[in-house]
Structure formats: structure tokens, C-alpha cells
């Protein structure tokens, strides 16, 4: 009988983690029930029970970490007795990819999910002093989520399952498409985002369950939500960049169900980040916010379901499995708990203020939420419509890019418009004078941009069949000019006031201005980043492509570039066969660079032979020259080269970096702190009063 000490250790730790999480859930719940309505310290036994639940939660992090370590260890030691390691690694895989094998398959990625959740729970539980009782509620709810994932790992998708028969000498290897540096960080980023939304969800549900007075819980969860949103943003765009750099079809977003699954919680999370400000500042939209964060969490679970259940066809999805039924059950339970709690406590969610004017910051947030949720609904609808169509018509349909682009385009433009005007409106009500003062400069900038754009040739009426994409670009560029001017004038206006007050120069005043209110100006920078991304996306209207056979000395011209084929050849490496061409790139008479587009066939002598495109890319701020080696013509034996000229692509990635910088800035504490709505009584005392009443 073979011994498998490490896999057995991993299995044991997963079982122990399940027991600890279950204890946290059960005893945490009992302790909260026992101590409901009494102030801290009155029911000492209840408090002690709650403390044991908290410590069990902390211990579960250590134990799940051991399980994750055991799987990574098995990967590094080539333990092919473990089925997961056999199917996702091999001996030749380099160190980084051996590590990333942890999340390259279904079982491993579920383990990553459970580990991240336990890590978030660990941080939450050791920081419980921020509000002991609210944290106890959140900890118990998180333990409930953790129990679900650990049950999956123990009973439905065990990562340490032993492969029957003798131990294999080598593994099947990692999918070559995943052997790319970004793939080492893209999934963890995405999962940090997905899993992270469990924390604000747990706080929101806990605050509702305990009828938490005031809006302090929003203040507590603001950082959690922003960090989570930041991770999800990075994860989504790392995935887009990977698709652009690796898949070789010239684009970065294919509206695949799995891509959509990551976009939906991002949209509702973005809506939550905006609308929660209305609750924080004015005590409005409480029910709305609660449902926004509930929906965001449910969408993260739905996204996980979509990737694993085989419900919709996707090139990304993990293999179909019965694991989907577990997710259906979990989603139903979570939804039922949310609905029950909401109806039970809905009188606690009454708005403290009313909207006073249509032209106000509040109404701009309302419309912002409307737009973001409309976009989310469109994506969800498009993702699930093939299933609905099959049910109604008996035939599936495809919901590809043409559907999403057409429906989301007007929504996106409206969002861009709101990005610019929202921050210019005052809370409560905006006077006509203020509107005139704030909108003159952006209006002039838009008019100027429109004239310049038409003058340089962005003319939808002359674009033939491409008039729609040209029109979209014209409107986007024009709006972008207005929004950027609006943001810049906000900085300038604030800095001028600070300069007058302090006598500092404009640059120093701007820095001081930003430090005084990092949240506001960080937000502006995020908006600026979004505008830059929109400019990059709009550049797609002017994409060009050309495909031709290119033998030695052959030339291809696309836009300002001329490509000359210097040579083409093929080679064999241990892991793959390769074909590539060497192309000199000229602009005018000047040689700019040499590109080497390549096509690899991984595992050529096995049943798993898999082609992979190695894109050759010359990237500038103005455009990307994107060259792919498509294969060889069977008759002429010459390589077929496809070239894309993608204008403004870099603006998308730069926009993302600006969004990241703005979000990080908004996370930095301001020099002056805005007050938070806090009820007069402390939470536990207020709760006691409620129950005693």
C-alpha cells in the first residue's frame, strides 16, 4: 500500500478547517443569540462563547493555509499521485507556474477561494476591536460562507484526491495558454476581488440583523469595499491584457460568459461605492444599498457557478460537473436569508432625508446607479439568454460582441456623461448660477474638441458602413474633452483657493488640496482614468487589419507601417514545436524594429497537442502594431501573417493604472476628516434599548 503523507495531511486540514468554521458559525450564532439585547459584559458566558467562536475562525485561517501549502508542496515535489497535480503540472514547468497550478484547475481554485476567504476573515477577526459586536455578526456570516466552500472541498471537489493505479512518472502539464506571467497574478487578483465582496456583504447583513444604528458600519467597510473593488478592477484588466497579448485575435474583451461573470459584480460594486455615499452623507438609500451589496455578493457566487456548472458555453469554463447544484443551493439559501432579514428589519432602513432637487449630487448618483445596473442587467441578460432561448425555442442562440456592443454603447456614453457632470453638482440642490459657472469651461472644451475632431477626419457621415463606430468615437472623444476639463477645473479651482489661503504656489496648493481630501480628489483621478480608458476603447473604431502570405522579401503595408519579411523558419524544443517569421518594420524609410510573430504547438507528440499564438507587438501611445503568425499556406509553404493596427490601445492600460492610482489615493487618510453619521448611543447599548423597549 502506497503512503501519501502530504495529500493526507492536506485532506485532514480541510476537514479540520470545516469543523472549525462550522464551530465559528454555530457557536458564533449561539453567542449572538444569547447576548442579544444586553450590553457587553452582562452575559459573560455568552461573551466567552463568542470569543471561542472568533478564535476558531482565526484558527481556520491557519488550517486552510496548511491545506494550500500542502497542495503547493505537492506541485513543487512533483507528487503525481495527487490527481490534481497530475492533470495540471509536469516536471518541466517552471517555478512560478508550478505555484500558479494552485488555481489552474477547479479544485485548486476552490481551495484558493477558501484560503482567501479565511485570510479576509482572519484580518476581520483580529481587528474586532473596531466594533466587537458588529464584527461578531460579520465573522459568523463569513463562517457560513466558509462552511459552504469547505464542504465543496471536502465532499464535491477534493483537491487531494489520489489518482488510482501506480504513480505516473510525469504530469500532463499546464495549459500553455496559462503559461504567461500575467496568468500568475490575474486569477488571484480576480479572486481577491470576488472573495473580498464577502466582507462588506457580511457587515451589511450583520448590521441589518442587529439593527446597527447610524452609518458607522459603512465607514468601517468603506476600505474593505474599495480594496476589493480595486482587486477586481486589476483582475479584470489583467485578464483583458492577457487575452490581448496571448490569444492572438487582436482584441481584449470577447464578452465571453466568464468575462461577463467578473464584470457584473464590478458594475454593482461600482454602483454601491457611489450610492453608499448618499447613505453616509444624508442617510438616504439604505434599502437600496443593502440590496446592492447583497446582489454584488450573489453575483460573485453566480460568476463562480457560471464557470463551473456548464450552464452556459464558455471557452474559459472549467469542465462541467455536478458542483453546479451545490452553488444553486447556496445561492438560494443566501437569497432567502437576505430576503428574510430585509423584511424583518426593513423599518430600520427608512430614509432620513428626501431628495430635494432633480439637479443635485443625489440625483446624479441615482442616475449613475441606474446606468450601472442597466449595464449589469444587459450583461446578465446576454449571458443567460441562450439558456432561455433553448428553453423557449428549443434552440440555443449566440450572444456575442455585436449584441453587447450595440446595447451597451448608449449606456456607456451616458455613464461617461455622468462621470463628468456628477461631481460638479452640489449636494441637496444646485443653483442655476453654479451650473453656469461649472459647465461653461467643459462646454467650450467639448465644442472645441468637436470642431477639431471633424477637422482631422472623424466624420461619421463619410465613414460608410462604419458610421456607427465613427459616431460613437466622435461622441466619446467630445464628451471626454468635457469631462477632463471639468475634472481639471475642479482641481484648479480648489488649488486656487488653497493658494490664496496659504500663499503657496499652485503645485504645492494642489498637493495640499489633495491631501486634505484624498477621497474626493482620489475619486476625481479614478474618473479621469475611466475617461482615458473610454478614449482607448473609442480608438477601436479605427482599427485596421490585413492578412497576406509573406515569403522572403515580401512587403505588407498597413497605416503608416511597412513590414518586410526577412526570413521564416521552424524549430523543435522539448515542450513545443515552433514556426516563426522575422519581419522588419519601417515607417517611411526608417527601420523601427524587427518583430517575430510565432506559432507554437505544445506537446506535439501527445494527444494533448495544443497550438498557441505568440503575438509580436510594437506598442506606442498612438497605436499598436499587432502581428500574428497564422500558419503556413499548404500550397506555397509561405507563412500567413495577419497584422492589426489598433489605435490608442495603450490608453486603456494607462487608464487602468490611473484608476488604480486614484483608488489607492482615496484609501489614504485625509489630513482633515469628514464627520461620519453616528447614532448617539453605542451600538450594543442602542440594541439593548431596542430590545428592552
Amino acid at each position: 500500500m502506497q503512503l501519501h503523507p502530504m495529500p493526507e495531511f492536506g485532506s485532514f486540514t480541510l476537514l479540520l478547517a470545516l469543523a472549525l468554521s462550522f464551530y465559528t458559525l454555530l457557536m458564533g450564532g449561539v453567542a449572538l443569540w444569547r447576548t442579544r439585547g444586553v450590553a457587553a459584559g452582562v452575559d459573560r458566558q455568552g461573551d466567552r462563547l463568542g470569543e471561542t467562536a472568533r478564535r476558531a475562525g482565526i484558527a481556520s485561517f491557519v488550517v486552510v493555509s496548511c491545506a494550500a501549502f500542502a497542495l503547493v508542496w505537492a506541485s513543487f515535489t512533483n507528487d503525481f499521485s495527487v490527481s490534481y497535480i497530475l492533470h495540471h503540472t509536469n516536471r518541466d514547468l517552471n517555478t512560478a507556474y508550478k505555484f500558479s497550478a494552485l488555481w489552474s484547475g477547479q479544485e485548486g481554485s476552490l481551495l484558493l477561494w477558501a484560503w482567501l476567504l479565511s485570510a479576509y476573515g482572519f484580518v476581520l477577526r483580529i481587528r474586532n476591536k473596531v466594533d466587537v459586536r458588529l464584527t461578531a455578526y460579520a465573522s459568523t456570516i463569513l463562517a457560513g460562507v466558509q462552511v459552504f466552500f469547505l464542504m465543496l472541498l471536502n465532499f464535491a471537489a477534493p483537491p487531494f484526491a489520489i489518482e488510482p493505479g501506480p504513480r505516473a512518472l510525469d504530469g500532463f502539464g499546464l495549459n500553455p495558454l496559462l503559461q504567461y506571467p500575467e496568468m500568475v497574478i490575474h486569477p488571484p487578483m480576480l479572486y481577491l476581488g470576488y472573495v473580498g465582496f464577502s466582507v462588506p456583504f457580511a457587515f451589511a447583513l450583520g448590521a441589518l440583523m442587529m439593527r446597527y444604528p447610524g452609518e458607522k458600519w459603512i465607514h468601517i467597510t468603506r476600505r474593505w469595499t474599495m480594496v476589493t473593488w480595486l482587486f477586481l478592477t486589476c483582475g479584470i484588466f489583467l485578464g483583458a491584457h492577457w487575452a490581448y497579448s496571448v490569444l492572438g485575435w487582436g482584441g481584449y474583451w470577447g464578452w465571453d460568459p466568464v468575462e461577463n461573470a467578473s464584470l457584473m459584480p464590478w458594475l454593482t460594486g461600482t454602483a454601491f461605492l457611489h450610492s453608499v455615499m448618499m447613505q453616509e452623507k444624508r442617510g438616504m438609500m439604505k434599502s437600496w444599498n443593502v440590496w446592492l451589496i447583497f446582489s454584488t455578493f450573489l453575483l460573485t457566487i453566480l460568476g463562480t457557478l457560471l464557470t463551473r456548472s456548464g450552464l452556459v458555453s464558455s471557452v474559459h469554463a472549467f469542465a462541467q460537473s455536478s458542483i453546479g447544484n451545490w452553488f444553486y443551493g447556496f445561492i438560494l439559501i443566501v437569497f432567502a436569508v437576505c430576503l428574510f432579514t430585509f423584511f424583518r428589519q426593513r423599518d430600520h432602513l427608512k430614509s432620513e432625508n428626501r431628495l430635494e432637487s432633480l439637479v443635485s449630487r443625489e440625483s446624479s448618483f441615482l442616475f449613475n446607479n441606474l446606468i450601472l445596473l442597466a449595464a449589469c442587467f444587459t450583461v446578465l441578460w446576454g449571458t443567460l439568454f441562450p439558456v432561455l432561448s433553448e428553453y423557449v425555442q428549443g434552440t440555443k442562440v449566440t450572444m456575442g460582441a455585436p449584441f453587447y456592443n450595440r446595447v451597451n454603447l448608449p449606456i456607456g456614453l451616458f455613464l461617461l456623461f455622468l462621470t463628468g457632470i456628477g461631481p460638479l453638482l452640489a449636494w441637496r440642490s444646485t443653483s442655476l448660477r453654479s451650473i453656469r459657472r461649472n459647465f461653461v469651461l467643459p462646454g467650450i472644451a467639448m465644442a472645441l474638441a468637436l470642431v477639431v475632431l471633424i477637422a482631422v477626419g472623424v466624420r461619421p457621415w463619410a465613414a460608410g458602413d462604419d458610421w456607427q463606430s465613427n459616431l460613437f468615437s466622435l461622441v466619446t472623444f467630445t464628451l471626454a474633452a468635457g469631462v477632463i476639463t471639468a475634472i481639471a477645473s475642479e482641481f484648479l479651482r480648489g488649488a486656487s483657493v488653497v493658494a490664496t489661503q496659504t500663499g503657496k504656489n499652485l503645485l504645492a496648493s494642489t498637493v495640499l488640496l489633495v491631501r486634505r481630501n484624498t477621497r474626493r480628489y482620489g475619486g476625481y483621478i479614478v474618473h479621469f482614468g475611466i475617461v482615458v480608458m473610454f478614449i482607448g476603447i473609442a480608438g477601436g473604431a479605427f482599427n485596421q487589419s490585413h492578412e497576406q502570405e509573406m515569403g522572403f522579401g515580401d512587403t505588407m503595408t498597413l497605416g503608416p507601417y511597412r513590414l518586410v519579411c526577412q526570413s521564416f523558419t521552424q524549430d523543435s524544443k522539448p515542450e513545443f514545436d515552433t514556426e516563426y517569421a522575422l519581419l522588419d518594420v519601417y515607417k517611411g524609410q526608417k527601420k523601427l524594429t524587427q518583430l517575430a510573430p510565432e506559432k507554437r504547438i505544445y506537446f506535439p507528440n501527445t494527444d494533448h497537442a495544443q497550438p498557441s499564438t505568440m503575438v509580436a507587438l510594437r506598442s506606442t501611445l498612438a497605436n499598436d502594431l499587432y502581428v500574428i503568425y497564422e500558419g503556413r499556406d499548404v500550397d506555397t509553404d509561405k507563412p500567413i501573417i495577419k497584422v492589426f493596427l489598433n489605435p490608442l490601445m495603450n490608453w486603456i492600460w494607462i487608464g487602468v493604472l490611473i484608476v488604480v492610482a486614484g483608488t489607492v489615493l482615496a484609501l489614504v487618510p485625509s489630513l482633515t476628516r469628514a464627520p461620519v453619521r453616528i447614532a448617539v448611543a453605542e451600538p450594543s447599548m442602542a440594541e439593548a434599548a431596542i430590545h428592552h423597549a
Partner: protein
């Protein structure tokens, strides 16, 4: 007279649009509204598989159909009849397919009307100036520091 001018403008616009159309951009547009039949899940003109068994043939068929002078709809229908409905990158066959397009617009419109109604209802219920705030109490009973805090909270971004 006005009607005549408008007609002239419409004719000129149409002429500009129609004159701008060229076969290559039409090929590009239609080719981006169909999927490759090989099962890669990619748009026909974006399928880049080595030795893809379908894309070259389909692209040839598309060129042939465009050269044959068929309308966009006729070409799409031809492909849908030959390869099945999933060959179209978006549902455009009419009937239940229309629901795919109508639902997002309907939801968006309903939501817009809903938000409009919400704003109207809130305004009808008495505006909600400081005095009507149930959480903060009236201005008259507020301490100076409390009032300052509230003003800051409600005006700072």
C-alpha cells in the same frame, strides 16, 4: 418650401452615406457578425486557429455571397440556414430573438421612469429640508458644532 429643403438634405445625407459604402468594409462588418463554426467561440474574422477546418471556407463563402449582391439579411439567413442559428453572433432572426434586444431597453426605460417617479414622489412628500429630516432634527435644536458637522458632512464629497 421647408419640406423641399428637408427632402434635399435627407437625399444628400443618404447619398453621402451610400457613396461611403465599400465592399471591404461590408465584408468586415458582416464577418464580425458571425461566429466561426469550428467551436472556438470566436468571431469568424477573428478565428486564428492553425489549420481551422472552417474559417477559410466560411470566409470564402462570405466573399461569394457579397459578390453575389445579396442583402445583409439574406447573407445572414443563408449562413444561419447552412450552419444553424448559433452561427449568428447575435440573435437577429425575429420572433423570440427580438426579446433579447427589447428586454434591456424595456428594463432601462422602466428603471428611468421609476427613478423619475421616485424623485417626484420624494419631492411631493415635502422636500426634506433640514427641518423635515427625521434623523438630524430641526436646525433650531442643533448645537453650533453639530450644525457645522452636518454642513461639512453633507457638502464635502
Amino acid at each position: 418650401m421647408l419640406r423641399r429643403w428637408l427632402s434635399a438634405v435627407v437625399v444628400c445625407l443618404l447619398a453621402v452615406v451610400m457613396l461611403g459604402a465599400d465592399p471591404s468594409s461590408r465584408f468586415n462588418r458582416i464577418g464580425h457578425q458571425m461566429m466561426c463554426a469550428c467551436g472556438c467561440g470566436q468571431i469568424l474574422l477573428e478565428c486564428n486557429h492553425v489549420g481551422c477546418p472552417d474559417s477559410d471556407r466560411m470566409i470564402g463563402e462570405l466573399r461569394g455571397q457579397i459578390a453575389g449582391g445579396g442583402s445583409d439579411t439574406a447573407i445572414m439567413n443563408w449562413f444561419a440556414a447552412k450552419y444553424g442559428a448559433t452561427i449568428l453572433a447575435a440573435p437577429i432572426r425575429g420572433g423570440f430573438d427580438n426579446v433579447a434586444w427589447i428586454a434591456p431597453m424595456a428594463v432601462f426605460l422602466l428603471a428611468t421612469v421609476g427613478v423619475g417617479f421616485l424623485i417626484w414622489a420624494w419631492k411631493q412628500r415635502g422636500g426634506g429640508g433640514p427641518g423635515s429630516s427625521s434623523g438630524g432634527g430641526g436646525l433650531g435644536v442643533m448645537e453650533d458644532s453639530e450644525l457645522r458637522d452636518r454642513i461639512r458632512r453633507e457638502t464635502v464629497y
